[in-house]
């Protein structure tokens, strides 16, 4: 029984690691950028202090230009946005993703794969219906594509650009942007359907509380009980609900810039979108690990829809009892 550790103990450590990363973000984020005020003063030196106060304070005037924000001379928020994006989000995202991967690797090396405690009985129990699997793989595929293209937009200029010829580089980036922008709404739809479909399994109960107290099997002896979904799976579900929907909604605001959004709105939503999607990715690493390499017998559930009886007994004992009782009755 010693070795029995549940899938989500990994998740527990991952969360700890992520929290650690957040606090160790570069504390000195220094702006090196152009000073908008100095730049402006150089090119409009003849202005009076009154005018200057207005201009630098972002007071808008009148202009014939129709572009968004054209009536404002200086938008100082731009510099802050640049700083947040370049000095905080970029390194922070790397830390979160890197931290997540390192955490998983360490966990794998230290604890190893959670094996089946008893040999397979060969009896298979249906866990995910066809529709469950369709919606899972639909969202998962889009998630991976969006993650890769999104990461390209944030990081590729540091590692892809130096090794690609210019024409290939620009072709990839244009493709990445279009793929990201067109698939985004389809992903959002999938997330919505998934949430509606699975929410009924995901309300927390006392069993989950006990499951959490035992750290999903990592604290104390014996495997904690779990129903159809264990506490860890429910946490991941609610992450999809809150973080996933944040990603989706902020993405939609950015995707359709033709509703007169101001530059400030777009800056804000770009920050929200980047932070929430990086958090989701870091957490998704954990989910992917637990569902494949980390737990013997878990992946076949989402692949074929069926799990082995031994697996069900070990990881979701209450659900197993429920299912067998139903079968015995009928």
């Amino acid at each position: 029984m010693e070795k029995s550790r549940s899938r989500t103990s990994v998740g527990f450590w991952l969360v700890m690691l992520l929290v650690g990363c957040m606090f160790s973000l570069p504390v000195v984020a220094q702006s090196q950028g152009a000073d908008a005020r100095r730049e402006a003063l150089q090119s409009m030196p003849g202005t009076t202090p009154d005018f200057w106060r207005d201009a630098a304070g972002g007071v808008s005037g009148r202009t014939t230009s129709q572009s968004v924000g054209a009536d404002t001379l200086i938008m100082t928020e731009g510099e802050r946005w640049k700083e947040i994006r370049n000095e905080w989000i970029s390194p922070g995202g790397l830390l979160a993703l890197g931290g997540s991967l390192t955490g998983i690797t360490f966990f794998y090396l230290l604890v190893g794969r959670v094996k089946l405690e008893h040999p397979r009985t060969g009896k298979r129990i249906e866990r995910w219906t066809r529709w469950d699997r369709v919606i899972h793989w639909y969202v998962a595929t889009l998630f991976i594509i969006l993650a890769l293209t999104g990461l390209s937009i944030l990081y590729a200029k540091w590692f892809l650009m130096p090794i690609l010829p210019t024409s290939l580089w620009s072709a990839w980036m244009i493709a990445a942007k279009n793929i990201h922008n067109y698939l985004g709404p389809l992903f959002s739809l999938g997330v919505l359907v998934m949430i509606v479909k699975w929410i009924k399994h995901n309300f927390f109960n006392l069993v989950d509380l006990k499951w959490f107290i035992k750290g999903g099997g990592i604290v104390g002896k014996g495997h904690p009980s779990a129903g159809y979904l264990n506490g860890g799976e429910k946490v991941w579900f609610w992450m999809i609900v809150f973080v996933g929907l944040t990603v989706a909604v902020s993405g939609l605001v950015l995707d359709f810039p033709n509703f007169g959004q101001t530059r400030e709105t777009m800056q804000l939503f770009l920050i929200i979108h980047a932070v929430s999607s990086l958090v989701l990715m870091a957490a998704a690493f954990g989910h992917i690990y637990i569902g494949t390499l980390g737990t013997e017998g878990a992946f076949e559930g989402m692949k074929t829809g069926y799990v082995d009886e031994s697996w069900a007994k070990q990881h979701h004992d209450l659900w197993y009892e429920e299912v067998t009782q139903k079968q015995n009755k009928s």
Partner: protein, 214 residues
């Protein structure tokens, strides 16, 4: 190496939008693209109204360049910030980082997708060896022909100056010296004469400092 800069003398700008028109004409920019614009604050308020013509400032350490995901901006020897439209993905990040609202986007794709960014090139074209293509994509390359930007050249009051930062600042200093005397035409009428003089001096110093900073 010369360091190119714009300077707009708010005392002279009469909001005629000549620079805007000149730019449009020199560069034949797409529909909806306005590389230069004139912004008027306190429009219509006697004694307070001030107009300034702005385009890309070709910033030192440009913010647009720092956030561009495809790194398609590049600084030239003249201190200009130009960009490569082939690599531009129309993400709009440069516009969100730019303090001066310089980047412009044609609406090309479906669902309001932005086309490739376009902005003031200081009439220096772009990265394209074929001059015809260059003109189509980036507009005029007047600098190569030894000419200055058309917006400044055509400014009827010579409020907008463009060229070597040092020379531009010198011209402005000279103006300020003339204006700096009593009952100068300096700024809003509510400044006392000596105050105006001080202001003028400050401004001249600033313009001079600007040329020293790079």
């Amino acid at each position: 190496m010369a360091r190119m800069k714009f300077l707009c003398d708010s005392e002279r700008c009469i909001e005629c939008n000549g620079c805007v028109t000149a730019c449009k004409n020199a560069n034949e920019t797409e529909w909806g693209i306005q590389r230069r614009r004139v912004v008027t604050l306190d429009d219509g308020e006697v004694g307070k109204e001030v107009s300034i013509s702005v385009a890309c400032m070709h910033c030192t350490d440009a913010p647009c360049m720092a956030v561009c995901p495809t790194d398609c901006f590049y600084p030239t020897e003249d201190g200009l910030i130009l960009h490569n439209k082939d690599a531009c993905i129309g993400c709009g990040y440069c516009l969100y980082a730019c303090p001066f609202g310089a980047p412009q986007f044609p609406q090309q794709g479906a669902f309001g997708a932005r086309g490739k960014m376009d902005k003031c090139t200081f009439c220096a074209g772009g990265p394209e060896s074929d001059p015809v293509l260059e003109e189509q994509k980036y507009g005029a390359n007047r600098l190569r022909e030894g000419k200055l930007p058309l917006c400044a050249e055509m400014c009827s009051t010579k409020a907008l100056l463009a060229g070597d930062a040092q020379q531009v600042a010198d011209i402005f200093r000279e103006r300020v010296v003339y204006r700096g005397h009593r009952n100068s035409a300096w700024g809003s009428a509510d400044h006392e004469a000596d105050q105006s003089e001080q202001l003028a001096k400050n401004a001249a110093d600033l313009a001079y400092d600007a040329t020293q900073s790079v």
